[in-house]
């Protein structure tokens, strides 16, 4: 099968890659580009472990064909910390023990950031529904939800 050439932007850097036309964006990120921070929990859009943003829209990268990334801007967990500074969500997840095994964590962080970028003042219920596409089997979600609520409050405080 002839490979498809794709030009895109990943975490702010221009990236070009060759892929099979049927490859998912997740497979290209992980296998072709070595960005293994995005995880495959299901490959069917049901677990959110592969969450990335495509032009700031939250998507399951397992459901996107890699050629669809052409001309778009993708952000993954690898682009979340700035230099040696963790993003406040990353910092808070560690502080509040919002991860146990950590396999779901990249997906939750990407999804939570996408929420706070849109809605800096979400209610607990809004956070729970926004994150309902991300499965975590370890934590019972409690500490994840608390971490997002606290970061939202901190960021609002900082913005005042």
């Amino acid at each position: 099968m002839a490979k498809t050439h794709v030009s895109t932007t990943i975490n702010g850097e221009p990236v070009e890659f060759l892929c099979d036309p049927t490859q998912s964006l997740l497979d290209v990120l992980r296998d072709n580009l070595g960005l293994t921070g995005s995880k495959e929990g299901c490959g069917s859009g049901d677990c959110g472990a592969c969450s990335v943003t495509l032009d700031n829209r939250l998507v399951c990268s397992c459901l996107i064909l890699a050629p669809e990334a052409e001309g778009h801007s993708i952000r993954t967990i690898e682009g979340m910390a700035q230099g040696d500074q963790l993003h406040p969500l990353q910092q808070k997840f560690v502080e509040l023990a919002a991860l146990q095994c950590g396999i779901c964590t990249p997906g939750f962080l990407v999804a939570s950031k996408a929420l706070l970028d849109r809605n800096p003042d979400p209610t607990e219920t809004e956070i729970r529904y926004w994150l309902a596409g991300n499965l975590c089997r370890c934590t019972g979600y409690d500490k994840i939800i608390r971490a997002v609520m606290e970061v939202a409050a901190d960021m609002r405080e900082a913005a005042r």
């Binding site: 963790l86 956070i127 729970r128 370890c138 019972g140």
Partner: protein, 759 residues
């Protein structure tokens, strides 16, 4: 509630692997790759039960890019004996057949062949070219059907164990187990109230988000390297060594970070296959299961049936208790029958107990451990029955449990007598909690249930090293599945009297540290924690020797306090205390490197008890249950890192809620699983739940220097009945079969309505 005399224990520092895990740096099972690696894929049986007449792999092997094809012929057959393998008692004949079907495929998804190819696409193409000639056989899925005389028999050699005289023909009943204390018949004669019910549960999957994954690389000289996502890399080594006849020391297994296991990653599926493919090709072979494969072929927890009979006096004192448990083992014997039987009445001090259990095979994937294996099933039945008893007696459900609670000195039905335990304290903590004292909101109902788990000790090894600048590395051999690095570092820092961030915990591969039993049974913080503490003690002993040398005094005259060697008294002489850093810096002059080691078989794992309270509402039209408030209390020994202890409780609760309300395996008439994905196998999501409140009751375990008890298993035991009891109190309908999913619950409510109207 933490003991104020500790500096580090009971604090909540950031975990040592935190930054790696929030940035995507941490490497999980599927994140390992090697140059030149091949991709391995498994061909799985489409039939629930079929004889394999022949397998023709020639077309697959001829496909360009295919480097090897294996079937059962590539694995030596194994005797029908139970042997220790990585310290687990396993029947090698069964294990090799579960890894690769031999005479028969015993469940849909059973591996029958595997290929290694240059790409995943080629590997998939090759699978389609393998021709298997199957003779399809009648199958049996459900446990009661499998126990019938005319059921299709899975194994011609399977004679029920534990029955005298031994049956003369094979059946699907692998084992019968009897557990007796006192005289139940006499007990029931004293009873003024007797409640008897029958319950059923469905199998549920552990549901770890990370599928099984491995990478094996066999070299020409016979040495093998394996990377694997596993709860026990020493078990992986043991299984691969046994199944492929390679000496254990030739196999080096490195555990990746592990994306959840809950018991399901204590066995092997892919590792021996990847290793065999690598041996045949001379190339590294990577294998990763799809989610569908995880559902079809990896071990769920069993479903089962439980019949319970409890007799009590009007004052609430239980005088006799009896239950019969039948568990699905899956295609090979070995459900968690023992724990299901032994835990059934373990919360209670009852004079007369009789428990009978059956281990039953059927055409389903072989079950694997899942958090407190077996216990939630019997607790679902026993704790529901107790709730009926409380209603019958008009007693508060906590008071009923307090009246019968096991205490120090209570003899269990399975033998041991409890040492210091905290069940009464936990019940009382719930009784006085804000949640329990609050009125139940209109339209809601409240359910209560308790649960028990033994907790496990077993084998652990650890080592501690001091670097030249006085910082410390502690090395252990249990994959960190939920923050155990932090707990181990906290205990090491406490023991040594240095700061937490001066201690680096490392998890070593099988060749770099002595044997460690699996991460499971809630044993790591207890047993491996003990090994770490002992390795630090060993290091302190050496540090005192070095200080004594420096001061030219007797080592007995040196004490270790707050990270410093000091003279034991003024008679020893006037010496400035020597810090760890001082002693490390002068180590070259006092005898070389300073290390400590420990190895042990940890005894005295303190049992744990949990009591849960839930408030919920039931929508009568849809059968949807909405949980409004949930509190889990547990005697946790000492909470080393309370955040991760709370997390264990919260995670266990939510898995239990899923088990109660939605999760089940749905088989069609052909014995094929109809819901092998997260869309149809419905695990709880964030919007299904409220916050999960926790109450940590600290009753230290007298058999651990810091009072540690395992905490991870207990919290999955009470939720099934807590939810069921609340549903019964909300609707007046007692559900006996799980899950209480919307269709089942609304059907039960509909069925009950005319009767209730007529009453």
């Amino acid at each position: 509630m933490s003991n104020g005399s500790y500096k580090w224990i009971g604090t909540r520092p950031n975990r040592p692997d935190g930054a790696d895990k929030v940035t995507g740096r941490a490497r999980f099972g599927a994140d390992f790759n090697m140059p030149g690696q091949l991709i391995g894929k498994v061909l799985r049986s489409p039939h629930a039960h079929a004889r394999i007449r022949s397998i023709d792999t020639s077309a697959a092997a001829a496909l360009p890019g295919v480097k090897a094809v294996v079937t059962a012929q590539d694995f030596p057959d194994q005797p029908n004996v139970v042997v220790p393998t990585g310290e687990m008692q396993v029947n090698l004949r069964d294990v090799t057949r579960n890894v690769m079907a031999r005479e028969k495929a015993l469940y849909e998804g059973h591996a029958v062949a595997a290929v290694a190819a240059t790409t995943e696409a080629v590997a998939r193409q090759a699978l389609a070219l393998i021709k298997v000639d199957y003779e399809v056989l009648p199958h049996v899925i459900d446990v009661e059907a499998a126990m019938k005389d005319d059921a299709p028999v899975l194994h011609d050699h399977l004679i029920t164990e534990g029955v005298k005289p031994a049956p003369d023909k094979a059946s699907n009943i692998a084992k019968r187990m009897d557990n007796v204390k006192g005289d139940v018949e006499a007990g029931f004669r004293q009873a003024e109230v007797v409640i008897e019910r029958r319950y059923a549960t469905q199998p549920v999957h552990q549901g770890y988000i990370e599928p099984h994954a491995t990478l094996a690389s066999a070299a020409e000289d016979g040495q093998v390297q394996i990377w694997s996502t596993t709860q026990g890399h020493f078990q992986v080594r043991g299984f691969c060594s046994r199944l492929l006849g390679v000496e254990a020391s030739q196999i080096r297994v490195t555990p990746s970070e592990i994306g959840g296991g809950f018991g399901g990653k204590t066995v092997v599926y892919l590792e021996p296959v990847a290793m065999r493919l690598s041996q045949k090709t001379g190339k590294p072979v990577k294998m990763v299961m799809s989610r569908e494969e995880v559902f079809r072929a990896s071990g769920p927890a069993p479903g089962g049936t439980v019949a319970v009979k409890i007799g009590a006096r009007r004052d609430g004192r239980i005088v006799a208790a009896e239950c019969t448990v039948a568990l699905q083992a899956g295609a090979f014997p070995g459900s968690p029958l023992g724990p299901a039987c032994w835990t059934s009445f373990a919360c209670y001090d009852i004079d007369n107990i009789k428990v009978v259990g059956f281990d039953v095979v059927s055409n389903r994937p072989k079950v694997a451990a899942y958090r407190a294996p077996g216990a939630p099933i019997s607790a679902w039945a026993v704790e529901s029955t107790l709730d009926i008893l409380a209603q019958e007696l008009g007693m508060d459900p906590i008071d009923l449990r307090l009246k019968n609670a096991a205490k120090k000195g209570t003899k269990t039905s399975y033998g041991p007598t409890f040492d210091t335990i905290g069940f009464v304290e936990t019940l009382e903590a719930v009784k006085s909690s804000a949640h329990y004292r609050s009125p139940v909101k209109p339209g809601m109902a409240r359910g209560v249930a308790a649960g028990f788990w033994f907790n496990v000790g077993a084998d652990s090894s650890a080592a501690a090293h001091v670097a030249e600048d006085g910082t410390v590395t502690v090395i252990s051999g249990n994959p960190d599945i939920g923050g155990s690095r932090a707990s181990l570092a906290l205990m090491a820092a406490e023991e040594l009297g240095v700061d937490y961030d001066k201690v680096r915990p490392v998890i070593a591969d099988t060749s770099s540290i002595g044997f460690n039993f699996v991460t499971g049974g809630s044993r790591v913080t207890f047993a491996t924690g003990l090994a770490v503490v002992n390795s630090v003690k060993d290091m302190i002993r050496e540090l005192k020797v070095r200080a004594a040398k420096t001061w030219k005094v007797d080592p007995e005259a040196v004490v270790w306090e707050n990270g410093h060697a000091r003279p034991a008294g003024s008679n020893v002489g006037e010496f400035e205390p020597l810090s760890l850093a001082d002693l490390a810096a002068s180590a070259g002059r006092t005898g070389g490197p300073i290390n400590g080691h420990a190895q042990l078989n940890a005894q005295g794992a303190g049992p744990g008890f949990g009591v849960h309270v839930v408030d919920l509402a039931v929508d009568r039209d849809t059968g949807i249950v909405t949980i409004d408030r949930y509190t889990a209390a547990q005697d946790v020994g000492t909470a080393i890192h309370p955040s991760y202890v709370e997390g264990q409780l919260q995670g266990g609760v939510v898995q239990g809620v899923g088990w109660a309300l939605n999760e089940e395996y749905i088989y069609n008439a052909k014995g094929k699983l109809d819901n092998p994905g997260f869309l149809d196998y419905r695990m709880p999501v964030a919007s299904d739940l409220p916050m999960i409140e926790t109450i940590l009751v600290e009753v230290p375990n007298p058999h651990h220097p810091y009072g540690v008890r395992g905490v991870g298993e207990v919290p999955i035991v009470p939720p099934l009945a807590a939810v069921g009891n609340a549903v019964a109190r909300a609707t007046g309908v007692r559900m006996t079969d799980l899950p209480m999913s919307p269709p089942r619950l609304s059907a039960a409510l509909d069925a009950a309505t005319p009767r209730m109207a007529a009453e």
